[in-house]
Every structure is written in C-alpha cells, then in structure tokens.
Symmetry: C2
Subunit: 334 residues, 2 copies
Amino acid sequence: MKILITGGAGFVGARLARELLKKGQLDGQTITELNIADIFPPPADLSADPRVRVHTGPLLNQAELFASGFDAVFHLASAVSGECELDFDLGLRSNLDSTRVLLDGLRKAGNAPRLVFASSVAVFGPDAANPLPDLVADNTLPSPQTSYGTHKLMCEYLIADYTRKGFIDGRSARLMTVTVRPGKPNGAASSFFSGIIREPLAGVETTCPVDPDVTHPVSSPANTVHGLITVFEASREAMGGRLALNLPGLNVRVGDMLQALEEVAGTQVRQRVRFERDERIAGIVANWARGSTAERALALGLRPDASFKAIIEQYIEDCQQPSYPADALRGLNH
Amino acid sequence: MKILITGGAGFVGARLARELLKKGQLDGQTITELNIADIFPPPADLSADPRVRVHTGPLLNQAELFASGFDAVFHLASAVSGECELDFDLGLRSNLDSTRVLLDGLRKAGNAPRLVFASSVAVFGPDAANPLPDLVADNTLPSPQTSYGTHKLMCEYLIADYTRKGFIDGRSARLMTVTVRPGKPNGAASSFFSGIIREPLAGVETTCPVDPDVTHPVSSPANTVHGLITVFEASREAMGGRLALNLPGLNVRVGDMLQALEEVAGTQVRQRVRFERDERIAGIVANWARGSTAERALALGLRPDASFKAIIEQYIEDCQQPSYPADALRGLNH
C-alpha cells in the first residue's frame, strides 16, 4: 500500500507517519511506501525509514507527485489560523489552491484513492443570525469566523463533490484543538492551549491570553492520530453519509486545565502561568466552539480523552521520546 | 454610481440591467455607468443605452476590469447545473475560479464595494446523515448534490470571509428556480420548469422529465430581480448577520403548474405536454429541495409570487416585449 501524508513533517502529520510505520499496515494492507509531502523536511527518524519518501516544497508544485497513484491519502497540510488572519493570500494559496492541486492530481491518477482530510472545529462560529450552540455537533450549521475555518469548510465541500463524482473516496475529520504540542508556539491562535501546559513544565514562565472561564474541545495528539486512522478505515456505510464529522473532543475549561496541571506537576509549575488578556487572541477564541459532540465518530468507536489530567500525563510520557526537546520537563525538577 | 453585473447578458442578468436602467438609481444613488461582463454580448437594447459598457469574454480574463473601482456588483455569471455535471473542469473554472478573480479584483480596488452574489437553492440536498426537511430554510444545513450547488456554497463562504475582512460588503441571495424563462432550453437540469409552460404556449409539443407529484420552489423573473435589488439595498443590520439567505419561493407541484397552464391558456395548450421520465434529470431533481421558506427575506419585505397562474400571466405579458421571441405565444392562437 502506497500512502501519502501531506503536512507529514508537522507535529500531527509526523506522529501519524510514525504510528502507521509502527503498525506496518493500514486497513489490513501492508504499507510498502509512505510519502511525506511538506514544505519542511520531516524529522530524521522518519527520513531514515526505508519505506519513507520525502517530497519537500510547496504542495502547489507537486501536481505530478499527486497524480502518481496513491492508495491512501491523509491531507493535513495547512497554513494555521493565525497565519491566515495575517496573510490572506497565503491562506488561500496554502489551504484552498493546494487542496485543488492535490485533488486534481488524485483524480488524474484515476484509481479513486481513499482520502482523509484534516478539517477543523474552526469551521464553526457564531454570527448574528445563528449563535453557536453550547456544543457544536456533526450537523451544526457551520459559520466560520476565520479564513482558516472558511478554507477548511470549502475544502470539505469540494472533497464531498470529488467523492460524489467518484474521483476519490474522501471523508473529512474535524480535528479538535490538539494539545499538548511540543516545541515552540506556532502561528495558530490556539497555540496557548499547549503553551500553558508545555512552558511551565519546561520551567518557563508564560501567559494565558484568555479568561479561565473559556471552555474549548481539545484532544491529545495520540487520540487525534487514532481518530484519523479510524476514519480512514471506516467503510462508506459506517460513515453514515459522506459529510464531514467531528472527532471527539474533551470539553474543558481553561481554569480546569491549570488545575489539572497543578495536580500532575505541583503548585510551583502551575504558578508559572499568569493570566494576561491578549485582545487579538481572545477575540478569535470568543468566536470558537465552547464544546463539541461527535455522535458519528462515537458510532465508529472513537472516544474523547478520559481527562485533561490524562492528556498532561501523555505529554509527560511523550517527552521521553527522542523527537521531543531534551529540556521539555526541566520545570518538573526545579 | 458605477455598477457591474457579471452574467449581465443572461436572462436574469439582462432583466436586472433593464430594471436598474429604468429606475435610474440604486440605493438612492444615480446610476452613471452600468458594466456588463459576460461570455456572450448582451441584447441590443442594453448595448444601445449610453450608460452601458460591454465587456465580452471569460470572467477569468477580466481581472483588470474588476479592479477598476465599482460601487455596486451583482455577480450572476455561472455555468449551470447540467453543464457542470457534464464538464467538471468547466464548472470549477466558471463558478469557483472566476469568482476568485472577481473578488480579488474588487479587493485590489480597495473601496469595499457592496456585492450581491446569486447563489442557489441547489446548495441544499439530502445525504444519508442529513435528509432534507420538507421546506429548506435559511439555516438548513447545506449538503449540495451537484457540482453547481457545491460551487455556489463555496462561493457563499468565500464571500462571507472577504466581507468579514472588510474587502467587500457581500451578501448571497439564494435564487429559487426562475420560471418562465424565454428562448431555448439551456443546460440547467431545471430547464424543464420553464419548458413545460413556454413550449406549449408557443405551440410546441414537449415532455416533462419528472413525475407530476414533484414539488419545487420557483420564482418569476420579475420577483427574482426585485429580490436581488432588495437584498442589495438592505443595510447590514437589516440583513441580520451576513450568511446567505433564501429568496422567497412559491412551492408548487408540477401537476399544479400544468393545471394553472390549462386555466390560463386552455386544454389544448396543456395537452402539448406529455410526461416522459428522463432518469438523468429526475435523479438530479430528486435531490433538490421540495419547497423552501425565506424568513430573513420576508423580514426585508420580500414575498413569493402570488400564484403559479400569476407567474404564467407575467410570462404572457412579458412576451409583448421586443426582447422576447416573436412567436412565443403562437400556441395561444391555434
């Protein structure tokens, strides 16, 4: 089986690649080739695997690669929300035009490969005519309030149409906010959802740009990758229609995230987070879902993470991996 | 006021142009220039008006025109549903890429013009997870079952995002099926909704490709044009949020359309329509809305046509216009 992961050098993409290489198979078929297309080169452990082929550069230039005949595609590559708000053209190019090039390549190949598109809970947002419900569901009317969410939603519908025409066998999994991400803050407005856990554990003081009462649906990296693979392996029938579905999220209050941090890592670690409202970030987050349900994902056997404490414990365990920064847990030993 | 109508040589576009030229003003401002951009040249009466400027050719080539600084834009140009099903690339190019070129031109001009996008009731459709309600409402979850509907929906969301960013002041009006259209059948799967009235009135035998029990929301040309102008003139506040809205439709059964034809034009005319199921057309129509509501358009003062009989009577009156075929009512005199 020949797999393509776009955005496979990113955090979720690389973790998905590792998981697939470890399993050695997908949907019952042996993985013979795993292609990673990303603007950045992937981590060294992935490049070193003899099954991995690396294609570094903008997706817009990869039309030939995309038409080369894949059996399975995970389309994760994306400019993130903060970037798209700052650079409108970059967002359209990276999220919409690149998806067009990918889909047209797959269509040209003619083998109707199965594709999972990483959509986002950011497709949901309030507007004057349609306030957001407390929990966004699979069939909540999307009304994105960011360019990022707009592009994700447009691609969901485009993928549904390519699927209806029989060019691909596509499905869209709406990722909840993935936390805890390692490394540096990125351009995503949701970056702080990882930062307020990661930084204090590393011994670094940080600020939380939103109020403690903000709630949000989150998912651990491991649970997110498990969700993407499960949605890939689901039959068309089990998908129950071909619209996008929500991956399960743990609906958690920012204040409770920090409470969990204190329980896992102690008061001293917790106290490295100071609330300092950032109007730009708070404004974006105010238009996001406060929680989610995932009826159709639950029917596929998926579940949210058990607790935010469990998410932090997973991060601490992950930090033993060579791909995580060596000083990621420095703050625990102070 | 400098106006642009894309698709201004088409039936609805030309009628909109005539109506605007007759009124001489839009939203209280005098119309000094009316630009018609269309792949076809407009009817002679429009070209002859000194306020009209004609730009014939694909919209994809009109980037410079679009950036030339319009105060008002009606974006009607589109490949129709049947065409898009037959030629996937044509659909993407005509409906999605052309809209991108238009929006980027308007953004480049920098004056945030008001824009009304002619979307369509075709954004609605059933899927296994979300059967269509009996009446599709402003906030029904769209699930288009044609490429045409998919592109219209994607453009609605793109226009909402350009509006959120302040590049334009956009709104999307979902047109119901416009009937009775003059002239020849076109590539739209909905073409028969006009054909079963127009052809028998012209003395021409015709077939109806769907069952008499099919119901559908329709609107007369005059009421549709009135809807587009009213949505243009509505304030942002009156729009009550910036999502698309349904224009009012008269929900009518195909059998009742023919009954109205008989009442207006007699049994002989009615008998020129024979039911002959076309599986391709019937399959497309089976996935369309069976009726609609238009809560937000009603709040703007818009109303559906009074009856289907009134729609036929409007067509017969329209046939006195020089822009209608000379033999359009030949069937009435037999």
